[in-house]
Amino acid sequence: MTATPSAAPAAGETTSEGGPRTHYLNAAYGLKSWLLTRDHKRIALLYLVSISVFFALGGLMAVLIRMELATPEGDLFQPDIYNRLFTMHGVLMIFFFLIPGIPAVLGNFLIPLMIGARDLAFPRINLLSWYLYSIGGLFTLWALLHGGVDTGWTFYTPLSTNYVTTSVLTVGVGIFIAGFSSILTGLNFVVTIHRMRAPGLTWFRLPLFVWGHYATSIIQILGTPVVAIAILLIAAERALHIGVFDPKLGGDPVLFQHLFWFYSHPAVYIMILPSMGVISELVATFSRKPIFGYRFVAFASIGIAVLGFLVWGHHMFVAGQSIYAGVIFSVLSMLVAVPSAIKVFNWTATLYKGSISWDTPMLYALGFIGLFTIGGLTGVMLATLGIDAHVHDTYFIIAHFHYIMVGGAIMGYLGGLHFWWPKITGRMYPVFWSKLSALVVFIGFNVTFFPQFILGYLGMPRRYHSYPPEFQVLNVMSSAGATVLGLGYLIPLVYFIWSMRYGPKAPANPWGATGLEWQTTSPPPVENFLTQPVVTAPPYTYASPKRGPEVTVGV
């Protein structure tokens, strides 16, 4: 994608008057300038800080869980504490880190830049969504300090409505409020992508990152209200004893699972589709060529979003659902694997005859492809009725969804963060340490979660505080791997913070990428572009020496 004319007059740090260049970070100072900002770039940074806090808290709980599981006996925590730990780990990681994750940070920062817009369509609503997220998060943290919750992040009824005594309602309110933040973000993205594209930027010239976020936004808008309703019904039964789910009050316990998974399965795609969008950008940029089969990859995102709404019943194969319903959900789940496979094959084919650099973001992207492939294929196993009936609710499924949500979504998030960090902060990070972090995360991840596939097939159920001694060896391996993985996450935290002050200054386009966001300065000015960019070519159009330079990249 080419911009003519381009952004800032000079990539240097000084204006023609000789003073420091004004950009979105130094345009205003003080707490108020951040908390009342309507600049999508600043709101993205607010999100970056808040989701990092929740990621750290969720990670800390994971560490405690793995410590407890290093021995078969439940000897480190009491069972009720252990149950709170894995519940809060799930709640924080899913609702307050992974779901907002890439859209609210990278999407927020990049979508207007990528489509050549001044901001999102509704800047105030964008700020509101961060406030809703924060209020929801604070409710949840408050509940954490007041006894936590021990239902599992899935809140299955009637356990959650009439049997546990922990802070189900407070956490429910927290998730309910944060849900609106997700809906508003999705809405903002959809309107922005429809209405605010630069002249010449047709749908099929959009970066695949934008396609991924478009598909994600559809899920956020259509799916989130359903989980909100499920939470309200839990509150109605728990607080007012209106019988909805508990058979003792005349309810149906399985109904909750339908409502819950109708959102929570598509929610997995809220986590993975933006990540896939990131990977498409990285693979194209670091191979210096267009994504193989652009339209297939773009429509695969939409296909996944649509099919994703039709497969929730595969969480309930053994839940008392009719076995014929299981058959339908099984075949539909198989179908979701096809667009996912298309993406993986197309990324691989993009590498063919590319000009591939081994920069840090690319290493994360390759890690993603490997881990997502294993996560996806084990997902196919779980969609197979006869296999699921054995490994359902065992460590096999824990391993599977961590390969998707940690191996997939977080690898994509970190890859994206490393890719756009120079744009976001105007600084570079150390090459050696960042490559090392990609390696350590990849190794640590596999040592942590691969043994869990075997544990699951051997029959170790999930959410077990103590377990039979023959499972110990694999659990110790997993705990050891978690230590490495935790270290792998700490390294980027350190050098990212370091780079903000000491990192070398980043040029406007350090990777030689083609996206519009690279046509403006690093960090971008408040207005994103000083003149309206005009797009004249498809995305990822790199000058080919064989065909002669068609376009000029950069300033």
Binding site: P79, N83, T151, T154, Y156, P158, L159, Y163, V164, K248, P253, R288, F292, G293, Y294, A319, G320, S330, V331, M334, L335, V338, A341, I342, T348, L351, Y352, K353, G354, S355, I356, W358, L366, G370, T373, I374, L377, V380, M381, T384, L385, G386, I387, A389, H390, H392, I454, Y457, L458, G459, P461, R463, H465, S466, Y467, P468, E470, Y542, S544, P545
Partner: protein, 324 residues
């Protein structure tokens, strides 16, 4: 015999073997595809690594007319394999779910945090189930509180046990041994303590165990009959009565015509519901006069009553009807 193999759990039923074969098929697909991707990625990464700063990749998609064929190939081949896996998996799943006709019924009640088992002869166990090898065991299961899950890895069977509804499942052990029974659905504080053992014995040893464990327990049918009298069910549900309540003899397994014009199969769930919520499905021709027994009978007593109703054979000349 707790699992000894480091990679495979005990395989103690024919169903377990067929699940393992299915898994092996899926696993080989996984290995082939991930190896393919990994090798291609590595080869391309090395072969096409950037040599000069100004190098760019060569876009082959637009120039090569075969690109679309390639897209089709890697959509259709995975789809075909997925459908094979789906079909095979469904077949195994039906085997897991459908008890054979000769299966012997055992009752299982789950509660926070224990399993209670009732043998056909009325014998009861807690967190243990002794069965003879080679016997098809049909499990009728219900929970007294939250959702539990009956999970025996050695048989590759895993099914949620719900409150308010009987779940039917089955297994047939093909070798003796002691196998884990886990609660597979998170059920509260002591979830990981809701574990037990399945003890599979030689038939003769099983008989000896039955004989040696004389506890004076009476069969579920007999306990059910006592309850039937104690709860005064028999004052209305009398074989000779035709006034207040339907005759139960021979009713089980038939279709009952209901007062709202529909019909209902008289099975375990129907009998249980009719005891707890009599007004829900009233047999045509009767008034909804029966009081509810909700809170007055436990799940285990309900099982005994169900077994008793089941045992009532039709006297000659009685019409098959059921109800409250």
């Amino acid at each position: 015999m707790i699992p000894s193999s480091p990679l495979l759990p005990d395989q103690a039923s024919d169903v377990a073997r067929s699940v393992d074969h299915l898994m092996l098929f899926a696993l080989s697909g996984l290995v082939v595809f991930s190896a393919l991707i990994a090798i291609l990625v590595f080869v391309f990464m090395v072969k096409y690594r950037r040599k000069g700063d100004a190098d760019v990749g060569i876009d082959i998609y637009e120039t090569n007319p075969k690109s679309h064929v390639l897209e089709l190939v890697w959509s259709v081949i995975p789809l075909a394999l997925l459908l094979v896996l789906f079909g095979w998996g469904t077949k195994v799943f039906f085997d897991q779910n459908r008890p054979p006709a000769d299966a012997v019924q055992y009752w299982v009640t789950g509660r926070q945090w224990m399993w209670k088992v009732q043998h056909p002869d009325g014998r009861r166990e807690i967190n243990e189930l002794h069965v003879p090898v080679g016997r098809a065991v049909r499990l009728k299961m219900i929970s007294e509180d939250v959702i539990h899950d009956f999970y025996v890895p050695a048989f590759r069977i895993h099914v949620d046990v719900l409150p308010s509804r009987y779940t039917t499942y089955w297994f047939k052990a093909n070798r003796t041994g002691t196998f884990h029974l886990f609660c597979g659905q998170y059920c509260g504080v002591e979830h990981s303590k809701m574990v037990g053992r399945i003890v599979v014995m030689e038939p003769r040893a099983y008989e000896a165990w039955l004989a040696g464990e004389k506890t004076g327990a009476s069969p579920a049918v007999a306990s059910g009959e006592e309850l039937f009298v104690a709860k005064a069910c028999n004052t209305c549900h009398r074989p000779d009565s035709s006034a207040r309540a339907p005759i139960l003899n021979g009713a089980f397994g038939t279709q009952a015509s209901l007062s709202d014009g529909t019909v209902a199969l008289v099975n375990e769930d129907y009998v249980r519901e009719s005891i707890l919520t009599p007004a829900a499905k009233v047999v045509a021709g009767y008034q909804p006069v029966m009081p509810t027994f909700k809170g007055q009978v436990s799940e285990e007593e309900l099982i005994q009553l169900v077994e008793y109703v089941k045992s009532l054979k039709a006297a000659s000349g009685t019409t098959a009807e059921a109800g409250k």
